[in-house]
Amino acid sequence: MNKPENKTLSELDRPNSYIGKTVPRPNLDRLLQGRGVYVSDLELPRMAHVVYVRSPHAHAKIISVDTQAAKKKPGVVAVVTGEALADVITPWVGVLSHMKGLKSAPQRAIAIDRACWQGEAVAAVVASSRAAAEDAAELVAVQYEELEPVTDMRTALESATPVIHTSLGDNLAFERTFEVGSADAGFADADEIAKTEFIFGRHTGVTLEPRAVVADWNAAEARLTIYQGTQAPHMVQNIAALHLGLREAQVRVVCKDVGGSFGIKVHIYADEMATYALSKLLKRPVKYVADRVESFNTDIHARDHRCKGRVGVKRDGTITAFEIDDLTGIGPYSMYPRTSAIEANQVVNLVGGPYVTPNYRARARVVFQNKNVMCQYRAVGHPIACSVTEGLVDLAAAKIGMDPVEIRRRNLIADDAYPCTSPAGLRFELLSHHASLDKLLKMMNYDGLRAEQANLRKKNIHRGIGIASFIEVTNPSAAFYGVGGAKISSQDGVAVRLDAQGAVVCQTSITEQGQGSESLTAQIVGSVLGVSMEKVRVILGDTDQTPYGGGTWASRGAGIGGEAALQAAKILRKNILDVAAAILQSTPAELDIANNAVVNAGDGTPRIELHELARIVYFRPDTLPPGIQPELMATRHFVPRQYPFAFTNGVQASWLEVDIDTGFVKLLKHWVVEDCGVVINPQLVDEQIRGGVVQGLGAALFEKCIYDERGQLTNANMADYLVPMSGEMPDIDIGHVVSPTSESELGAKGAGEAGTAGAAAAVANAVNDSLKPFGAVITEIPLTPQVILTALKRI
């Protein structure tokens, strides 16, 4: 499992390396003192505020929009309808060519003839303050003719159900079927077959800072500056330019502090597009900050799947086949530009992924409905696939009377079987399912917990243990979006330069939303250059200032952006040593850099401080030998080419107690063993995992967007939509197994989704384990008291 041994120490293994060390993230004081700059804090001269008038209906024809009264309100700059805005911005269709058959209808920044979900914008009110705009918005008179909404995904494809977009012919956005081996033969071969339907609640990311954007069209420069809390600045630049009829060079995207992202802020929303367009139309800065009700109604939702699953198992525990039939409803449009078919596609790809499964059949269908749009949220598809797989594995174990751990041991892909390909065609370079499971069992004292569980049963206390193995897609190559025609870069770039005082300035195309992008970049660059971290300043989140790249999403920052940083720093290091050798009349091979100085490679004796070298290069180049042209800046880009994705793996366990009288679940403890390859900063990796776990626990127990049959979201506020609070969350222990990727010198894979991928599956399995004496099996999340008491036939 270890990295192949090198003959010499690499740049990353040197004595003062920051790699593998817990160091605090740089510049945290800014956030700790309330001196960060979030988009919602921004103010520009002449800035106006926009408020959107939104459809109260899930599906309605817009008969008329009367803006007269609103326009007369003091402070109002403009009231703009969809028709007026259409002169400035073109509509879009959220499809990708590699998602074969995926279709969607043109979507507009502001609806024109028809509103297709409760919350779709139908007019914009721009005023001198948000309060003034809100006042005026109440005076916009919109006449609607209600249309029948399509809300239930189960009947969306029936002939009696209206077709939301008649031009598309039906409500089917995407369908994928897949079979490898023979599922029928696998089931025929099985001694037992377990089947069930898994139901996943629709939920959303609830970033604590709502989506916010300030768009500033400078008519004199013919340039648009977009300040936005986005994970992908270059993607925003491309899309804004495309639909506003500008060249990319006319659009700058600046991303400062971001109050939570989790995939919610990796898309382009209609109201953001409208805000860019309004700035261009009105020739002044326009600010949009969603309020919480708007966040719930318009931030992408996720999950909302119903997945029928079947597993065949032999009496010796061998799994003979998996089969799934997944159905998901994505709202009225496929989101732009990443599309809303990715989650279902991922489910097909990932089910059964940790296991040797020769026979696998899958179908996934994605249907339109008149609800808010659904798209990629943290761990896209993983929680569904993991819950289905691990739920089925537990059901299979129960059928044959085998311990859940034992059945996993007998079916997980062997640690020495790599490289190998999964049934769904996923290529695994190196995973560690068995080593991870072994470590987990030790950490949690599995046998001890089982004994404790048995003892407590006698006292009518019902505790359960749930295990969930998982795989995670990280470091995505162009296979994710680029091949489908989306201009979303899969490569990242880093520029590193030595400044005139021997400090380092580093510009990277990955972005920071708190994961630690800035830290990992500084750690890598500092390690390679022999410069202390506090001398490395990292610049990110500005399309004018950084190399071109993808940004931070899909667990790609460390693995892709980190490798670009490593390679750029290596070039700069070589360049520095070349100059140093000329100054010192030595050779680069005899020199090294350590502790901010060029030193003798042999004995570490300092030869010249970097600030002195920089002084000579920048101010007294006349003293350098002839023919030397120092290059104290270097740029490198990186993208994985051998593997479409760097898969990681891990396993989680939940220990909890179910109160069978109230249906409440008390989480007692949670464990994760995760293998993300080389760990750059252990604390940051662990905190990514903990945060991810808690988002998964939210989905498992609390979080659900509850729609009524008319397509009305009934709990669009924080009091009624529950998220995990500190009081109900457990402590989470984390362990690691390290299987580096050899695709990069750094060897790092991603860790952002691992926690979310398996948390709900572990909890669901633990709840079912605790309910075993009652013969109840629940395959629905969130596991609310109502769901549990219903399963127990208590209500």
């Binding site: 605090p24 993230r25 945290l28 004081d29 800014r30 956030l31 700790l32 003192q33 309330g34 001196r35 960060g36 700059v37 979030y38 919602s40 804090d41 303050s129 309060a131 990311g205 609830v206 970033t207 604590l208 800072e209 709502p210 502090d257 971001v258 109050g259 939570g260 992202s261 989790f262 309020d291 919480r292 939303q513 708190g514 994961q515 630690g516 604390q683 940051l684 905190e687 903990r690 945060g691 991810g692 776990v693 808690v694 988002q695 506020n717 924080m718 009091a719 998220v723 995990p724 609070m725 500190s726 009081g727 109900e728 969350m729 402590d731 989470i732 926690g755």
Partner: protein, 165 residues
Amino acid sequence: MTAPHPVSLQVNGERIEAYVLPRTNLADFLRDHLKLTGTHVGCEHGVCGACTIRVNGEIVRSCLMLAVQVDGASVETIEGLSDSGEISDLQEAFRARNALQCGYCTPAMLISAQDLLKREAEPDRERIREHLSGNYCRCTGYQAIVDAVEATAKARKDRDKGREP
């Protein structure tokens, strides 16, 4: 009732005289009028806790108070608590433990944690978790925050012990 109303108050020890609309809430007053943007707005209906500040020494959700209500009061925000050094040890513990990611909940989380630490010398983890339950954090999963608050409580206790004669 819609005419601007005069208010006079102390904000972080500074005397403020202003005219505010009766409907202006305290969070908006601090952010939009006084440019104290360290007070964050998350839900605007008193649930998420991101706008927590101190009024006359007590923690309040500034989105649930009107600016006119603080006439004559003393208001403290994260900017003031940072500059006075009152919570520098707590901030350092958060930094060392990476008890923040995006940082949006952090100012309010620090103020709520300080409120507990001022009341109780030795809160256990459960007590810390309970006290901070009114402050949502979507990034960390809370454990690092609980660790940082626990470490600060312990360090303060040790420090106070050292001061005893």
